[in-house]
Symmetry: C2
């Protein structure tokens, strides 16, 4: 795995002692030099400079579903590399994007833009219903979504179930502004299998369930294309309760949500909508969200009825950086090509 | 220059005969191997494979104003490399993003997402005013904006002034679906200096001026931070005429538009608005637009009054892929952090 060490088996590499570009594929890319971006077009790099801290190498994030294009980050310092029984975790420092987290070979977040994803995944559902009291988060062990739920004074109970204690511990140690979500006294934290947790929930327990685990919904969904799991989520929601989960970016080469939308409509029986927003560090620079409500009081996801109280930060240190009511509604406006790809039944 | 050849001066390179990752900085990055993304985590790469067409190397696009992060593209084939008296042009084929164009070391467009930028830069201004008749395009030699203007039946005259015949010729040869804009009989094409052209325009000539040259407006603007040039643009517009130009992405580390907005308000004396949209291949995956109208009939850029006729493609081969009235309005909704960065005077 690219995480296990920064040295490939290449004998030439050993000969050169060059810095390494790691990728989230098996084979590291090795570079002789990386242009110092600061000083523009002038660059007197010698091969010897490869050893200088100016050229510590890079990490290339290649999303499996957005092939042949990647995001390369200049790595200032490796913060953490570890392997739990479940996954590999790699954390490195950059000078312009803060710390970057790679989980099992997929970029999970950067400190520069994590708030866009965390705020939208949380507030799109919670601002769409009146008076949410009980919220369940599956995954989201970093704590950023807990931080956002914390802004909602009406919420009385926040349950989170994440699988991997290593990930939670690393966030608590290295990402205090994200893991701060755990400081909310309404949070009950469970370590374990999210699917088993959902199946164990008594019917009509939660007002909102936020999914920040599994593969996002869409062409590549795994767990969330499983009717059985989706039915368990719908069952765990109160009538008119809401679910949010990440979904494919509209820019994926084969973006098509028709089957996913049909499946969600059949299972949730309420409103089903796709939203999207800008997250630069994710493949294609944007990500989608699937919003579903169960049979019951009708939910219009496009028109938030429960705006955030700008004076209530919860445990967060300040107001939202990304979310507001305008962006909420705008997130449901789709480009022409994406509308077509949603299928004729989606209006 | 990275464009002149794919071989650096490194003696080690010569020894290895490794493929090259070119960057838009002086020093090429050389790689020993690049994981074949298609076959996921299995990859039996030998150094000898470096010669195989599976590993033709990559191009890393590093935007000068979004440092220490870059977009890397797997290069299938070099289509064109040339240098005019004005600039370097590098065109390569990718398998998933179509052809990619690098102009003077900056990514200009990819065939995968060029329409998002071209359509928004064109239709945001043209759909915001009734009955635009005379349109001026400065830059945009590729023809994509001409293709979009062509969708507006009310337009009687489309003047374009671009500097570099080499660029135009390369687009006409290699990008027929973009250069198709030149086929519109209303187009008058001028080769020359855009600034000189604008200064030569009689007062109150154009209903709309679209700027697709120079550095985008914002912290790094060059020509478009020049009062003299902006005054010439305003002077060339009819009362209530509109200008559109690209602007900084909200994700730039020091995004701040207050000075630019103040400058535009002082010069154009009508409406001044910032919009943004998703363009994956641009740094941060999004780009901004500055929309300005001159003193005269008031213009509300957020509410298009001149919707596109979906049945009129002009010279284009089909309907818009990105633009629609919903996306038009949504483009003016800004994240909380970006609103703050627009300055208190921008509401």
């Amino acid at each position: 795995m690219a995480f296990q060490n920064g040295v490939s088996s290449s004998p030439i590499k050993a000969m050169l002692h060059v810095p390494t570009i790691e990728t989230n594929r098996n084979e590291p890319i090795e570079i002789i030099s990386f242009s110092p971006i600061q000083n523009g077009t002038q660059n007197g790099v010698q091969d010897g400079d490869s050893f200088s801290p100016v050229f510590p190498g890079c990490y290339v994030d290649i999303a499996p579903f957005y092939p042949e294009q990647g995001h390369v980050y200049k790595v200032e310092k490796v913060i953490f590399k570890g392997k739990s029984q479940y996954q590999d975790l790699f954390v490195f420092q950059t000078s312009t994007h803060g710390k970057v987290v790679i989980l099992d070979g997929s970029l999970q977040l950067t400190e520069k833009d994590e708030f866009a994803y965390q705020e939208m995944l949380t507030h799109l559902p919670l601002c769409s219903i009146l008076n949410p009291k009980k919220v369940l988060l599956i995954g989201g062990g970093d704590g950023g979504i807990l931080r956002e739920v914390s802004r909602h004074a009406c919420v009385e109970q926040i349950d989170i179930c994440d699988l991997d204690k290593m990930v939670i511990d690393v966030y608590k140690k290295h990402f205090p502004d994200i893991a701060i979500g755990y400081k909310d006294p309404r949070v009950n934290s469970y370590i374990g299998d999210g699917v088993a947790f959902i199946k164990s929930v008594p019917p009509a327990t939660y007002d909102a369930i936020i999914i920040d685990a599994f593969q996002g919904m869409g062409a590549y969904a795994t767990e969330l294309s499983n009717e059985d799991i989706l039915k368990s989520i719908a069952k765990a929601l109160k009538p008119g309760g809401v679910m949010s989960a990440p979904a494919d970016s509209i820019w994926l080469n084969n973006f098509a949500m028709e089957d996913t939308i049909t499946l969600c409509r059949n299972i949730f029986k309420g409103s089903v909508n796709y939203a999207w927003t800008s997250v630069p560090s994710y493949a294609s620079g944007s990500i989608g969200f699937m919003l579903c409500s169960t049979d019951g009081p009708s939910v219009d996801f496009k028109r938030p009825v429960n705006p955030l109280d700008p004076s209530n930060f919860g445990v967060a240190k300040g107001p939202p950086k990304f979310y507001n009511s305008e962006i909420h509604t705008a997130a449901f406006s789709l480009p022409a090509f994406a509308k077509s790809a949603m299928g004729s039944k989606y209006a």
